[in-house]
Symmetry: C2
Subunit: 418 residues, 2 copies
């Protein structure tokens, strides 16, 4: 066996003019990594015949598995299918199962007439194996050449994911002896990348050659990932677990969670374990913390609800912040968030609450209160802690940082209360 490499080719002008952020590639890379296939290269090209052709030529020199997404739609700018037909010396034929799937989809599910443009999606090169697309209209195509596989999938994320999960990922271990890559990831908060690197310098330099440490900084947190590749899963895991335990001891003071999970999931886990609940009162984050807490399945166990008091009148009317506070120290103040936190916890009857108020920018700053100033309060039955932050970024990033730091304050309180 030898190491198996994949490359990803994403096709579509929308990726090159920047109107769409490519989320497919990172998902594909994650899934391939889990089964021991390393993504070596990723390339994005436009809907241009020559560029796609060259990408196929070049990427097939680099990898064993070439995954292609996009360009399979029913419209005129989608040229991937005829190109693949020519590239793999085929001719177009109607794939009967796909035609039946399309007919069923339009007649039974969508209940609208199937137009010719859609019917044409059942045509495929006769040199490919068709991969059924349960989630949409464009079928996937698998080609083999010189020991390599080329898989073309739709660019629509949920269609691509379904096809990868049901067709492509199960096929790879059968085709290749892929070996194993394992990762161990932990999340830290409250320490910068450089200081963290200094803290674990001795650990890092003592790592064996086949184990790699990566720093993944994001929004005031740093994830640390240990990766190792080997022929045998058993020895791999044991060694990696030992190293990971050592790493955890090294960063103990800053450790949020020893899994590759976002902050809000780490907090949700703590609450679930303790059968406790949380609510939020949000001004400047406008419901974003509530959204983070509720985006993951199973959140109804610990998340009850929120009062998004974007306007001051809502802070007064629904959260009991006095008119006096709002007109003297103002909405962005310790007094305001403490009252918001107390009120929402009582009204929504939760164990904990989070309250935030700040100036996210670009507007709204005053001489005393610059853009990026945020007050956060966390309340439990017995006490309230509050803290101010001064972020220095744009609106989106300030909102994100406010949410992450507020959740980390809640996490600290939950852990301290245990």
């Amino acid at each position: 066996m030898s190491k198996i490499y994949a490359t990803i080719i994403t096709i579509g002008d929308e990726l090159l003019i920047g109107q769409v952020v490519d989320t497919n590639s990172s998902w594909i890379a994650q899934e391939l990594n889990k089964i021991g296939v390393a993504v070596k290269h990723r390339v994005a090209v436009g809907d241009v015949w020559q560029d796609i052709w060259e990408a196929l030529d070049e990427e097939s020199k680099k990898a064993d598995i070439i995954l292609i997404t996009g360009g399979l739609g029913p419209t005129a700018d989608d040229i991937t299918k005829p190109l693949l037909c020519e590239y793999f010396n085929g001719k177009m034929v109607v794939d009967q199962p796909t035609l039946e799937h399309l007919t069923h989809l339009f007649e039974q599910i969508l209940k609208r007439p199937m137009i010719e443009r859609n019917a044409k999606q059942a045509e495929v090169p006769d040199t490919c194996t068709v991969l059924k697309n349960e989630q949409g209209t464009a079928p996937g195509m698998l080609f083999k050449r010189d020991g390599r596989i080329f898989v073309a999938m739709p660019g629509v994320p949920h269609e691509m994911k379904w096809m990868m999960t049901h067709h492509v990922l199960p096929m790879i271990p059968e085709l290749y002896n892929t070996g194993f890559i394992e990762h161990r990831t932990l999340l830290t908060a409250g320490i910068g990348e450089s200081f963290l690197a200094d803290l674990i310098n001795e650990f890092e330099t003592s790592l064996p050659d086949h184990v790699k440490l990566a720093y993944l900084p994001n929004f005031g947190m740093v994830r640390l990932r240990l990766s190792s590749w080997a022929l045998e899963k058993k020895t791999l895991n044991k060694e990696l677990d030992n190293l990971f335990n050592l790493l955890k001891i090294n960063v103990k003071e800053y450790l949020v969670i020893d899994e590759d999970l976002p902050m809000e999931v780490a907090v949700g886990k703590l609450l679930k374990e303790r059968k406790q609940t949380v609510s939020t009162a949000e001004s400047c984050t406008g419901g974003y913390i509530a959204h983070l807490l509720s985006i993951h399945p199973g959140s109804s166990v610990f998340f009850t609800g929120s009062i998004v008091s974007y306007a001051n009148i809502i802070k007064e009317r629904m959260l009991g912040v006095s008119h006096e506070i709002l007109t003297t120290v103002g909405a962005v103040s310790e007094e305001t968030v403490v009252q918001m936190a107390k009120a929402v916890r009582e009204t929504l009857q939760t164990d904990y609450s989070i309250a935030v108020s700040g100036i996210m920018g670009p507007d709204g700053a005053t001489a005393e209160k610059p853009v990026g100033l945020v007050w956060v309060a966390i309340a439990s039955k017995d006490h309230v802690v509050s803290k101010s932050f001064q972020f220095r970024f744009d609106r989106r990033r300030n909102i994100e940082l406010t949410a992450i730091n507020a959740l980390n304050m809640l996490r600290t309180m939950i852990v301290d209360n245990s």
Copy 2:
């Protein structure tokens, strides 16, 4: 002059194992397009010497401008800087302005000691022009070779954006005679890509060769983008505006907005123009609609707040949904959302309100109520409209689709009321 092409090389293992979604590339592409530079290719490579070297070789064959992001951090896995030093036959020297910037940053702003790891960030190849990084520690580097420019920037998004905006983008028109690319984009809702293609088939086939039409489907909406490239801005704009007007007439029935703006901004614009306000009562979306409405600057003019009633007890207590309704027809019902919409509009005293309740999955389905079933109600002073949807996707997508469709229902009501 000739057409100027750029390619983007993103460097970092985190992009290849999929732990980070690359949002830099789409931003860079958008900004380059605005000044008439077309991105021809985008490639992601890991922190691997040979792969980065090859990418530099290959991409310089394809483009005039090679933009490189990532791999400039202070940690051991960041090898881009020494590699560029060797690639461009330089030797490392301390850049005095960068060292002063770093010293100032640590002493005055971060107020913590500068460790050696950080001080080393002031070292740069003597064959580059240094681009100051006001937003962080790693300086940018500009190299020239054979009429091409190579720009290396940090991977941290806000640092890269600052550097592009202040150094790179202003430099390009000075270096190249770039010509002009113009885009016109509109947003449609309520019609699929194929039907839209049929609707505008005649328009599309009549387009001149230098004008391109692209379909950008996303979350039940399709954006249509007309693009044209020419030497002269004046004639370009006139022709494109005429074609765009024709396109707007063709899709009139489904047109949301004739700008490249997301649905929530289109809705916010309508409300601002009419000096009207909106509030939301959210169950299944958990604050996501509030987040969408408040993420953009200036939203406090039309967005007042929300009651996120994730738990049924909050629907009863704060939105007056009767216990009888909740125990008979249930939380996911027309009765519930109509009451939620009426109550939140009255409590938060807004002109309009949005209420949603549904089953986002993967849990929570019953025999009568499958995953993806959502009820939406929109209330104004005089009436309430409600509608159910059946989405067929995963949790995140169902939440996104619920928000977009609810916002589109509000948009329709605002337009109908005018």
